[in-house]
């Protein structure tokens, strides 16, 4: 409803749409079911290229814990900013505007026509990323559904997380997202919702206690393997909350999430692999920080630039244009981090196409990865 192909034309940006207000204010999220709500996106600074992240075969011994993640906030300036333009999706991608029911799921835009006459390069916003802090981070590639040795019917969720504070993990099967990041189990069965506290610590392994698992054989594979059409219900939702668990009651989940209760929410589907075992596949991650809901996105190429300090001889970290400065600017909506800010400014005077994928540039976002402002 709020989105149409025509909204994506870059000529929306002929005029600066008061970019300063986009930068300074982060508007609280509306009710998710409202199609006019504006999603906020954040980009994970430590997101690696999908191919540079080998599967962790030796799973019970995860690699050395990474630094706690930093996120960069990006407030979209309107519904015209959507994320379905990804011509080169990674093996997973987060593809959804929040809860729109307009049947857009999976539709790709038409291919670019190369004969498009050259028009004056439209204005694009060039803005600075703002950091927000996330206290709890579930590594989305580590989420597994494992057999419970003591109760073969029950399946247990395990994962690796970084926590800067004590908190709790809540596992909900078929959870519906409501107002202000509240999640309610769709089926009123106690087993559909399990909450377990954790202590702070980086790279810690979490596993749902034995005996609390769910027999997924009870469900149709078809229901497990996709979200509801409006993407408000996901077969598996993992809430990682940065606070101690309050007494658990069903009522509590019907209430909006308090602004003070920061959380990271992982929404996943469940599939069967070739060996017939269930596996979770993360579709979306959401941050709830200081009362604002953000959808977490990856930026392609940022992992390389954030690993360590800039090394002049590493082609992965340098701006693809000058090959001299570290890259610090990402292109939106395609999310290719590939340029330094100077070259990005130069580029946008000459073309509106992303150097990596040639998709039209709508906005540029400068992300200073290595500058830590405490």
């Amino acid at each position: 409803m709020g989105i149409s192909l025509s909204r994506r034309r870059p000529n929306n940006h002929h005029h600066p749409q008061n970019p300063s207000s986009q930068l300074s204010s982060s508007y609280p999220t509306d009710q998710p079911s409202s199609s006019s709500s504006t999603p906020n996106y954040v980009f994970a600074a430590n997101a690696p290229y999908s191919y540079s992240h080998p599967p962790q075969n030796s799973y019970p011994h995860p690699p050395a814990p990474p630094l706690p993640p930093q996120y960069y906030q990006y407030n979209t300036c309107g519904v015209g900013m959507n994320n379905r333009l990804n011509f080169y999706p990674p093996s997973y991608y987060y593809g959804s505007q929040n809860n729109n029911n307009n049947g857009w799921h999976g539709i790709r835009p038409p291919p670019m026509v190369s004969q498009t006459p050259v028009v004056p390069v439209p204005y694009v916003d060039h803005q600075m990323a703002k950091k927000i802090r996330n206290d709890v981070n579930v590594h989305k590639d580590t989420i597994k559904i494992e057999a419970d040795e003591e109760n073969m019917e029950g399946l247990l969720v395990s994962l690796t997380l970084d926590a800067l504070v004590d908190g709790s993990i809540t596992i909900i099967y078929f959870a519906k997202e409501g107002v202000d990041c509240s999640f309610t189990p769709l089926y009123p069965d106690a087993r559909m919702l399990v909450r377990v506290p954790f202590q702070k610590g980086l790279g810690q392994k979490f596993r749902q206690p034995s005996g609390t698992g769910v027999d997924l054989g009870f469900f149709e594979l078809d229901d497990l393997s996709k979200p509801s059409p409006g993407e408000d219900v996901f077969p598996l939702v993992i809430l990682a909350e940065a606070c101690l668990p309050l007494p658990l009651s069903d009522e509590q989940f019907d209430h909006p999430r308090p602004a003070t209760s920061n959380a990271q929410i992982t929404q996943a589907i469940i599939e069967k692999n070739s060996a017939g075992a269930f596996q979770a596949k993360v579709i979306k991650q959401i941050l709830w920080v200081d009362g604002v809901r953000y959808e977490l996105r990856e930026i392609y190429g940022i992992g390389k630039s954030s690993e360590t300090s800039f090394d002049d001889s590493d082609p992965g970290k340098e701006c693809v244009i000058c090959m001299s400065e570290p890259k610090d600017t990402a292109v939106l909506p395609c999310r290719h981090m590939c340029m330094c800010s100077e070259c990005a400014k130069e580029l946008r005077l000459q073309t509106n196409k992303c150097p990596i994928c040639r998709q039209p540039i709508e906005e540029l976002i400068e992300i200073r990865v290595n500058k830590v402002d405490q």
């Binding site: 190369s114 082609p315 693809v320 244009i321 000058c322 090959m323 001299s324 590939c338 070259c343 130069e346 580029l347 000459q350 073309t351 196409k353 150097p355 990596i356 040639r358």
Partner: protein, 139 residues
């Protein structure tokens, strides 16, 4: 003179081309003008051009990398409207090498040869082999 104000990118690309050349490709800058490269591409094995050495001249215009390198008459989209500043001398030369492995008679430089190729590929491939031997055997 022409070399005094060379952008860092061109220096880096040149260094990398010389220190880690792509297989079957050599590109060396001219001493008088570092924007001018002498290029040699070996005919890919299992192509009609196998055994041939194909010499090219490549020139980096002032606007490079915002504009594509200049490379004689080669019909390749990335040298025209599909140029991107993320491409490099190396990637351009690799694309040309790939074009030798898979000629594209639907987008030809020479209409006649493309017609021949489409009408009788076996014969056209024979001609390509002959000409490779005659004109590109590295003598």
């Amino acid at each position: 003179m022409a070399n005094s104000n060379l952008p860092r990118r061109i220096i880096k690309e040149t260094q990398r081309l010389l220190s880690e050349p792509a297989p079957g490709i050599s590109a060396s800058p001219s001493e008088e003008n570092m924007r001018y490269f002498n290029v040699m591409i070996l005919g890919p094995s299992q192509s009609p051009y196998e055994g041939g050495v194909f010499k090219l001249e490549l020139f980096l215009p002032e606007e490079y990398p915002m504009a594509a390198p200049k490379l004689g008459r080669i019909c390749l989209d990335i040298l025209k409207d599909k140029w991107s500043p993320a491409l490099q001398i190396r990637t351009v030369l690799l694309s040309i090498q790939a074009l030798l492995s898979a000629p594209n008679p639907d987008d030809p430089l020479s209409e006649n040869i493309a017609k021949h190729w489409k009408a009788n590929e076996t014969e056209a491939v024979e001609t390509a082999k002959e000409w490779t031997h005659l004109y590109a055997s590295g003598e």
